[in-house]
Symmetry: D3
C-alpha cells in the first residue's frame, strides 16, 4: 500500500502484510534497546502471577515491528506524521505470529506538497484476534 | 511519576526523566529489530539528499526509548492502554540526547479497578526542542 | 527481481537494490554474532598498521546485508541453492554505503519443479567501486 | 588450521572446529542484522506449511558462524579471498549444533607474497549430516 | 539502596531488587558481546555431557545483569570502585529468574569527597539458591 | 595461557592477549543487555559535565570483554571460580583499544580434581595505562 502515490490510493482500500513470529528473543532485545524491563515482559515468575499467566510482548514492540512490515517505498512516503487512537487491545505471547491489515480511511490533499493519508492499522495474531489498533498518518508524494 | 498510585497523582503534576543519547548504534539496532530500514534512517547518502541532510532517528525508536525512561513501578502500573495524538514534531539526529516531560492531564476513576491517568508526554532534545508529543494512557492501581 | 516467477525473468535482465550504510555498529554486531573478531575488523590500532590503515567490514557481513537488500518474495523464491565465484574485491570501510546490481546470467528449467536462475550479484559502494562479486543460485517457482 | 603458515600446511590436512548451537535467538538476530526476514526463517506459521515444517537457519548465518569457528590467527591470514561452490545442502533447525571440518585441497605459492590455500569447508550438524559445503580461499603468510 | 546518600545508609541495611529471567537469548547475546563462546554456555551437545547436563549462564552475565538491577541514582553514586570475593557459587540455567539482596557491610568516610560503602551482593534464583556472592565497593556522595 | 593444563603452568608465567577496540556500539549494547543505563555511560550531555568530560565504558563491560580475550580451552578450564581485588583503576573511553596481561600468581593443587590457578589480570589501553586489575581464579584440569 505504501508503495503507491497519494493520488493512486483510494479511501477504503485495504492491504495485508506478511507475518512475523514474536519470539522470546524479540522481547528481550526490545527490553534491552528500549530500557523497558517491566517484569510483565521480562520476569517469568512475576508474569506467571498475573492474569496473563506468562510474559507478554511490549505494545511498543508490536508497533515497531508493524513499521517493519509496512513496506515503505522510498520516494513515496515523505514523512510519518503521527498516530491516533493507539489501543493495545489484547496481549501477544511468545511464539505468536503477527501481521497487519491496513485500510485507507482518510485522504487530505495538501496541493503541491502531496497529501496526508490516514491508515487504520490493525495488528492481529495467527488466530485473527486483534492485538493493537491505531490510525497512522503519512505524508505521501503525488505521482505527478 | 509512575511510581505513585492513582489516588496519589494530581492533574497538572509534572515529572522530568533522565536523558539518553541517541547514537548511530541505537538507530541501526532499531532498524534491525523493527525491520524498518527506510533510507532516511539507514542510508547516509540518501539521507544527505533530503531536507534533513543526514540520517534521523525513527519516531518509533523515540517512543520506545521514552517507555524506558518512564520508570514504571511494578504493582502500580497495571496496564499501558494506548496513546493518542502522537506527533513526530521535529527530527532527532545521531548524537542528540533526549529526555521526557510528563504531565498528568486527566484522571478517570474506575472504582474498584483503579483508574486511568492520561499523561502528556513530551520528548525533547538537549536544546529543549520538542521532538515528539503524545498522550499516554495508563491504568494505575489505587493505594488502598 | 526476486519478486517475479522463473518464466517471467529473462537472461540479461538487471535490477538495482536500495542502499545501506555499513556502520561501525554493523561491524561490531556482526563480529559479535559470527564470533569472528579478527583484528582487521575490530581493533583500530591493529588495523591502522595494515595497508588499509583502518578497520574494514567482514566480507560475510556484506554478503549477509546483500541478502537483506534482495527483496525475496515469499512464494516465488523456493530455495537459495548456493553461491559460486564469490570474490571479495575491495574493502568496505565504516561509513560506506553499499547497494547491489543483480543480473540474470543463466536459467535452467527444472520442469514441474520450477527453475534455477543464476544471478550475478555485484555489491558496490557509493563511488561505484565493486566490493564483492558473486553468482547466486535460486530455485524459483513458475507462474503457472 | 588457520594458525599455521602457508609453508606449514599440507594438502589433505584436516582440522575440526568446536561447535555452536544455532538458537532461535541467532536466527532472529541474523534476520535483524542482515535485513533478511524471509518467512521460512522468521514466521512459524508460514514455515510450518513448508516441506521443512518449521523455521530453518539462514544459509548465510551458517557461513557467518563458520568464520567465527575457524580460529583465524592474526598475522597468518592476510586476506579472505573468496568462496567457490557454496552449496546449502540440508537445513539447520533451531537447536541444532554445528561444527566444521576443514581440509586443505589446494595450495598456490605466490612467491614473496605468501600463498593461497583452498580449504574445503563442511558445516555439519550433531548427527554428522552435512548442512553446507564450500571451498574457501585464503591468502596466508609464509613462516620465513 | 543506591538512591540514598552515604550518610543516609546504615551498616546492616538491606535492599531487595526486582527480578529478571535469564533467557537463552541473554546467554547468546552475552556470548556475542563478550566474545566468550565457551561451549558450556553455547553448545547444547557439549553441555549435556557435563555435570550440569545443560548450558549455564556466564558468571559475568549474572554480574552484568546485577548492575542493571541495582538502580543506581545519578548524582549519588560517584564511582563503582571494584569488587572483592566474587564467587560463582551455583549455576543459573536458561529460564531461571535472578534477583539481588544487597546489604551494607562497611562504610568508610572520605571526608569532603563522600564515602565508600561496601555492599554484600547476593544473586539468587527463584528457589532462593545463591548463584553468586560478592562485595561491591561504591563511592557515594554525601547529602550535604 | 588457558590452553594449558594445571601442571603445565608455572607461577610467574605471563601471557598477552590480542586487543579489541571499545566502540560506542559496545557501550550501548552493554547498557542494553545489562540494563545499566547510568548516564556516565549513555548520556553525552551528562557525561560532559563530569570530570571525565565524556562517556566511559562500564567496568563490567571491560571484564566481560576480558573473558572473551582469554581464549579458554574447552576441556582444560573446568570452572571459573571467582574474582578477587577487582579494581576499576582508570576510565576507558570510546575508541580506546584494550588488551590483557595475565600472570599466574598462585597454584593450589586439588589432587585428583585438578588445581586452582590464580591469575592476575590487567586490562590496559593502547597507551599501556591500566584500566582494570583483578585476580581471577580458575579450576584447571591436569594433563594426566
Amino acid at each position: 500500500m505504501l508503495n503507491r502515490y497519494f493520488d493512486q490510493l483510494d479511501t477504503g482500500e485495504k492491504w495485508f502484510s506478511g507475518g512475523r513470529t514474536i519470539t522470546e528473543s524479540d522481547i528481550v532485545m526490545f527490553a534491552a534497546l528500549s530500557g523497558d524491563w517491566y517484569p510483565l515482559h521480562t520476569n517469568k515468575e512475576w508474569a506467571s502471577a498475573t492474569a496473563f499467566k506468562q510474559r507478554i510482548a511490549h505494545g511498543m514492540l508490536l508497533l515497531s515491528v508493524a513499521t517493519g512490515l509496512m513496506e515503505f517505498k522510498p520516494g513515496i512516503v515523505i514523512a510519518f506524521y503521527g498516530m491516533d487512537k493507539v489501543r493495545f487491545v489484547s496481549p501477544v505471547f511468545i511464539g505468536d505470529t503477527i501481521s497487519l491489515e491496513m485500510e485507507v480511511i482518510d485522504k487530505n490533499d495538501k496541493d503541491g506538497k502531496g497529501g496526508v493519508v490516514t491508515v487504520k492499522v490493525t495488528i492481529f495474531n495467527q488466530r485473527n484476534e486483534t492485538a493493537v489498533s491505531a490510525a497512522f498518518k503519512f505524508l505521501l508524494a503525488k505521482s505527478c
